[in-house]
């Protein structure tokens, strides 16, 4: 459904020393059936650049991005509007995705009106309330407020509700829980997981946290330095990693069980 083919994204002047390849001839396919794909990588791996490519916020220097088989750059107005509606995003920072000048209602109302999904305000609010409830929020507690009056967890869930209300087919979530308190993370991850099982929405979950990726993904893609180094089912990627980087990544996650030796207390220092 959403495909990136041999994409390279380069920053900096060509043939110069400062040329940086954020993505290097990367290919990835999100299938049509609802699924959860996790992209795991650290800073500089290219995972965020990948999300921006898929969201159409960035053009590849080389390569193509396809939506339903059509090149994004060649979509006509109508098809592009459909793409915009069906591919939605949830970003990392729940604090800066809202324009502080407006109430949060606007984030929910505006896209509904622009995409012509509702005929009037009543219809819009009806739909919004249903979606808020679907992610476990009380409309009375969240609507009519300014962003700074809500918690990080609430703000993130409103963004998910927004994607739902637009009848999105794919949600691209870039580190959606890393800035949220630990106790709320599981709840938000559950909302995202249920999007697949209950709403038939696919999820592209981008994170540096291997354990949460393991929790919800049907497929894990490991990225390093602008390339995909490993890809597969969570069980095999985590418990039988093939690539040295994946192995290092798995070994670097502290197991929440003091009886397991993580190798922290070594005599020799890492060089």
């Amino acid at each position: 459904m959403l495909e990136v083919r041999a994409a390279t994204v380069a920053f900096g002047a060509p043939r110069s020393k400062s040329l940086k390849l954020a993505l290097n001839a990367v290919s990835l396919v999100l299938p049509a059936e609802p699924s959860i794909t996790a992209i795991v990588g650290e800073s500089g791996s290219g995972k965020t650049t990948m999300t921006r490519l898929m969201l159409g916020l960035l053009q590849p220097t080389q390569g193509t991005v396809f939506y339903d088989g059509l090149d994004l750059r060649q979509l006509d107005r109508q098809a592009f509007a459909r793409y915009r509606r069906e591919v939605q995003a949830v970003f990392q920072d729940p604090y800066s995705v809202y324009n502080p000048f407006y109430k949060v209602d606007r984030s929910l109302l505006l896209p509904l009106q622009r995409f012509g999904l509702v005929k009037n305000r009543e219809e819009a609010y009806e739909r919004i309330q249903k979606c808020l409830q679907a992610v476990g929020l009380l409309p009375g507690d969240t609507l009519g407020r300014y962003p700074h009056q809500l918690s990080g967890g609430q703000r993130q869930r409103i963004m998910i509700a927004r994607a739902l209300s637009l009848e999105a087919r794919v949600i691209v979530a870039d580190e959606p829980v890393s800035m949220v308190d630990a106790s709320l993370r599981a709840t938000i991850l559950e909302s995202l997981y249920r999007l697949k099982t209950e709403q038939q929405v696919s999820l592209l979950y981008v994170t540096h946290d291997l354990t949460t990726a393991y929790q919800i993904a049907d497929r894990i893609v490991v990225m390093y330095n602008g390339q995909i180094v490993e890809e597969g089912e969570p069980e095999s990627v985590i418990h039988a990693p093939q690539h040295a980087y994946t192995r290092a990544l798995v070994a670097a996650v502290p197991p929440p069980d003091p009886s397991i030796d993580w190798g922290l207390d070594t005599q020799a220092l890492p060089a």
């Binding site: 650290e42 106790s183 997981y193 354990t211 929790q215 040295a244 922290l264």
Partner: protein, 364 residues
């Protein structure tokens, strides 16, 4: 130079899942250390607000032994950072320390004058601050910044001795000597963090406070930095207080773990004990909400929202979210209950909770 990972290869540790017997782990045997090096008693820190004073830290007490690693864990607003900053009198006005004592080897840190505190900071109690990588002065070399600290405390004025000391510090944190003459922007995140650790141990303090030292770092570098921290601690024989929100890291790093909620220390116990037998509902739910490589598709979040310290819930601050809560919980603040040596809990029902299994689920 900047790619720490590229230069060293990947640090390969033992594959996860390899179990070792409990006895051989970091133990809290008292013959490893002397008596208490730090004794914090009933610490209170408040901030004035429009609705009255907000207690960011509400009666926190704990002890720290020499060579011990204490982990303070909690979410945003729990008061864990405020607690450790208070120990160094780094609370910015209008906040103020409104009560309690912090006895470091016989001297009360909270009762010291500004001048006394200045001589104590970094020489007896040091800090690796949150976002430490951004606390390095971008226009000074690493050497200049360490020199600054040594000069401020009148240490090692003789140039040759000074240079030797700086080289020694860098070696202790696993950095090559030439780092001393580099600027912060030339170093990677992990290297900058290690420079901050080097600065923290420069005067061989008795206590090192690390406030979320790895939160901005990638997970592979995180492990390296934590290894460096332990190594550095051993070199100077200091005790460490690690403040963080990652229980997984605490499980691997700390000897004793203290859990904070809404400014109160709700549970504190040796690490094996707190994971095997957590007695506060919040601790239990926190541990069971942790994702691990053991299970998939199970989500156990804690319902509700984090408490506001400006307008906290009455009685036990956790009662609005607690599955075990009763009438009593909204009226009475739970007092400190000692369940076993070193295991304190603040919950009315701590003794009555059923035991838990490895996944943190209650049995029976």
């Amino acid at each position: 130079m900047n790619d720490e990972r590229g230069g060293e290869g990947f640090a390969a540790g033992p594959p996860q899942g390899e179990m070792r017997p409990l006895g051989g782990q970091r133990s809290t045997r008292s013959d490893e250390r002397g008596g208490h090096i730090l004794d914090v008693r009933d610490l209170h820190v408040e901030f004035p607000t429009a609705l009255g004073p907000a207690l960011a830290v509400d009666g926190v007490s704990f002890t720290l032994d020499k060579g011990m690693r204490l982990g303070l864990v909690g979410e945003s607003g729990s008061g864990k950072s405020t607690t450790v900053l208070a120990l160094m009198q780094l609370i910015k006005a209008p906040g103020r320390i409104s009560g309690g004592q912090a006895i470091l080897a016989g001297d009360d840190l909270l009762a010291m004058s500004a001048q006394q505190m200045r001589s104590v900071r970094f020489s007896r109690i040091a800090l690796v601050p949150q976002g430490a990588m951004n606390s390095l002065n971008p226009v000074l070399t690493v050497r200049a910044q360490i020199d600054d600290l040594l000069d401020a405390h009148g240490q090692k004025p003789e140039p040759k001795e000074r240079a030797r000391h700086v080289a020694g510090l860098l070696q202790r944190v696993g950095l090559p000597e030439n780092v001393a003459d580099q600027y912060p922007h030339q170093l990677s995140g992990g290297m900058k963090q290690r420079v901050c650790i080097a600065i923290a141990i420069a005067l061989s303090p008795q206590v090192i406070i690390a406030d979320e030292p790895t939160s901005a770092l990638d997970v592979i570098v995180q492990k390296q930095v934590m290894q460096t921290l332990i190594h550095a601690q051993r070199e100077v024989g200091a005790a460490i207080i690690l403040v963080g929100h990652d229980m997984g890291l605490m499980a691997q790093f700390a000897h004793v773990v203290g859990v904070m909620y809404a400014g109160r220390l709700v549970e504190i116990a040796p690490v094996q004990e707190i994971f095997a037998n957590p007695r506060h509902p919040y601790t239990r739910m926190l541990i069971s909400s942790l994702p691990s490589f053991a299970t998939r598709k199970v989500f156990r979040g804690i319902p509700g929202v984090a408490p506001s310290i400006v307008n906290p819930p009455s009685g036990c601050a956790f009662h609005p979210r607690c599955p075990r809560a009763e009438q009593r919980c909204s009226r009475e603040i739970p007092v400190d209950d000692v369940l076993a040596p070193g295991h304190h809990v603040r919950c009315h029902f701590a003794r009555e909770l059923p035991p838990v299994n490895a996944a943190g689920e209650a049995l029976a």
